[in-house]
Symmetry: C2
Subunit: 343 residues, 2 copies
C-alpha cells in the first residue's frame, strides 16, 4: 500500500526533508481519552495486548487525535519472554511481575526460542496486519522489541527494579549462562521482528530500556553484540536503537547496521551528534516533563530542540510520554514540530 505520508521513512533513509517527522513513544496509551475508554472495559492490560482488533484500534487513535507522522503498534516488550515460556502478569500500578524467573542453566535450557517462540505471537502479527489495513497508508507503522539485555533483566529479576542487582549479579557471576540466555533471546527477537516486517512494520525500534544501569564495560560485553546481531538480521526495514541512559555506548551503537539512534533528554543534541557522527539519523529528545509546561513554553522548547539537531532528525520525547501528561501539552508539542521548516 502506497504511503500518503512517508516523511518518517524518507528521513530514516537519509533523505533531505522540509521538516522533521514527529511521533511520541507511548503515544498509544493513557494520555488519550479514547484509549482509557477502551481500556476500562477490559480485565487488564494484557487483554488489550492480546486482542488484535483492540490493539489495532488503540494503535491508530494517536494518528486520529494527535496527527502524528507515525503509528507504533500497541504491544509490550514482555511478549517475548512469555513466548519463550516465562509467563508474566501486569500488576496495576506496580508493573510487570514474573511468578517464575531464570535462576539456573536448566531454566535457560527449558526456554523455547527462535522461530518456535516467535510463532506463538500470532496475535501481534494479526494486530499489525489489521492496523496497517485500517491505517490505509496514512502514516508508517512502527514495530518494536525490547533489546536482549533489557529482556534478560526482567526474566532474571522478575519485576522492575531500581538496581536490577539480581540480573547484574548473573552477568558478574555467571557470564557464560548470561550469554547463553542472551543468545536465545536474540534468536527469538530476530524471528519475531522478521515476522513483524513481513506483516507490515515499516520500521523497527529496539528498546534497551535498562541499558543505563550497566557500566560501559558490561554494556559492551552483554548488550552491544546482541543489538548488532539483530540490526544485521532485519535488512527489510530501517532500524532504530534506543538505549535509554546508555550515552556511553553511543559510539558503539553508531557502528551498528541501524539507521536511527534514539537519545534520552540527558544528552544535548550537540553531544549526541558529536558522539554518533553524521551517518545516522537521531531521534528524540525533549524531557517528557516539559509537556507539563504551557503551550508557548513548549513551542519555544521544540524550536530550540529542532534547531539544535538541525536535520537528520526525528522529533520525539527522550522517553515515553508520562501517563498524566495533559493532552494539550502533547498537542502543542506535535503542532510545533509540524509548523517548523528547515531553512
Amino acid at each position: 500500500m502506497e504511503l500518503k505520508n512517508d516523511l518518517l521513512l524518507r528521513v530514516a533513509r537519509g533523505e533531505a526533508v522540509e521538516r522533521p517527522p514527529v511521533w511520541l513513544m507511548r503515544q498509544a496509551g493513557r494520555i488519550l481519552p479514547q484509549y482509557r475508554a477502551v481500556r476500562e472495559k477490559l480485565s487488564g492490560f494484557k487483554e488489550l495486548v492480546e486482542t488484535p482488533e483492540l490493539a489495532a484500534e488503540v494503535t491508530i487513535q494517536p494518528v486520529d487525535e494527535l496527527d502524528v507522522d507515525a503509528a507504533i503498534i500497541f504491544s509490550d516488550i514482555l511478549v517475548i519472554p512469555e513466548a519463550m515460556g516465562l509467563d508474566y502478569e501486569m500488576v496495576e500500578k506496580r508493573g510487570p511481575l514474573f511468578p517464575r524467573t531464570i535462576r539456573s542453566e536448566s531454566d535457560i535450557e527449558k526456554l523455547v526460542d527462535g522461530e518456535t517462540a516467535a510463532s506463538r505471537l500470532g496475535y501481534v502479527y494479526d494486530a499489525l496486519e489489521l492496523a496497517r489495513k485500517n491505517l490505509g497508508g496514512r502514516v508508517p507503522l512502527i514495530g518494536f522489541s525490547g533489546a536482549p539485555w533489557t529482556l534478560l533483566a526482567y526474566m532474571v529479576e522478575g519485576s522492575g527494579s531500581k538496581t536490577f542487582s539480581k540480573a547484574k549479579r548473573l552477568l558478574y557471576t555467571e557470564p557464560a549462562l548470561a550469554h547463553r540466555l542472551l543468545e536465545k533471546i536474540t534468536q527469538t527477537i530476530i524471528a519475531y521482528l522478521r515476522e513483524k516486517a513481513r506483516y507490515g512494520a515499516d520500521l523497527i525500534q529496539l528498546f534497551d530500556s535498562w541499558g543505563g544501569i550497566l557500566s560501559p564495560a558490561l554494556y559492551r560485553e552483554f548488550s552491544t553484540p546482541y543489538l548488532q546481531q539483530i540490526c544485521s538480521s532485519i535488512p527489510e526495514v530501517p532500524v532504530t536503537v534506543f538505549a535509554k541512559g546508555a550515552w556511553f555506548a553511543l559510539e558503539d551503537i553508531a557502528r551498528m547496521d541501524c539507521q536511527v539512534i534514539g537519545l534520552d533528554w540527558n544528552i544535548s543534541a550537540e553531544e549526541g551528534r558529536s558522539r554518533v557522527g553524521g551517518q545516522k539519523v537521531l531521534q528524540g529528545n525533549l524531557d517528557p516533563c516539559f509537556l507539563y509546561a504551557g503551550p508557548s513554553q513548549i513551542r519555544r522548547a521544540v524550536r530550540e530542540m529542532l534547531e539544535a539537531f538541525g536535520g537528520r532528525h526525528i522529533a520525539n520525547l527522550g522517553h515515553g510520554v508520562y501517563p498524566d501528561t495533559p493532552l494539550e501539552g502533547v498537542k502543542a508539542f506535535v503542532q510545533a514540530v509540524k509548523d517548523y521548516r528547515y531553512k
Copy 2:
C-alpha cells in the same frame, strides 16, 4: 586531635600518596552484622539516626570491621527537610514518605530555614562529636548533606519516584517558586554543614542523588548554582560533590570550589578525568554489583580501576553499597585497594 591515618585528607588536598584511600558509600549499614544487631533492637531507622550514641556506634563499625580509611557519620539526607518543618517517615522496604509535601508558595514561606532550621539538628552534631571522640583519630570523619535539588525532589514528590515528575513539573511550570525553595534549602544546608565542620567533620560530601533525572539545561539552572553556593560557603574543610547520573554536568562541577568529584559506574575513569580536568580529585567508581563476584575477580577489577584513574583518586563504589552485598566481597574490595601501590 591528631589523625593517625590522614590519607583521605592528603589526597583531597592534592598531595601525592603511595596508594589511594578507600571507603564505601553506605558502609555503615546492613552489610555489617554489627549494624543489623543494633538496628533490630530499635523501633525504626529514624530512632537510629536520632540517637547520638547509636549513630556514633554504627559510624565506627565499618572502621573496625572493614579497616576503611574513613568513617562517614551515620545519618540521613532527609533530616534537612524535617528540620525545615516537613516531617517524614521511613517506611520499611518502601523508603521515605512525606505526609505533607510542598505544593504552593505558602507552603514554602512556612518553612523554617538557615541557622534556625540547622539548630534543630543537635542530634546530628552530638553524634558527630561523639563519633569523633570515640574514633580517637584513627581515620577522618566525613559529614554529608543532600544537594538542594535532591532535597527539593523529595519535598515536592513526597517519596522516591522513578521519574520525579511532580518535582520536575514544578521546575517547568513554577520556576520562581522552585528557586525560592532551593534558596531556603541551600541556606539551611550551609548552616548545617558549617555546624558539622565545627563539630568535627573533616570532609563534607554533597549527594545529588537525583541529579541524573534532569536535563543538562535544568541541571544548570536548578542544581549547579546552589551546589556552587554551598561549596563556596564551607571553606573550613574539603568538599566532595557526587551528582549521580549527572555526567553531563561534570564540566560545570569541575569549576566549583570543591576538591573532590564523585563518579558513578556509568562513566569510565578516562572520560571522567577528561571531563573534569586535572585540578580535582576523583572518587569512585566500581559498580556496586561487582561485589557479588568472587574475591579474585574483585581484586582484578580494583586493580584495573586504580590503574585507569592513575592517581588523584579516592577508591569507592559508584553508588552506595547494596544491602545484600556479601561481606567477603566488601572486604576483598577494601583489601585490594590497600594492597595496591602507585608506581
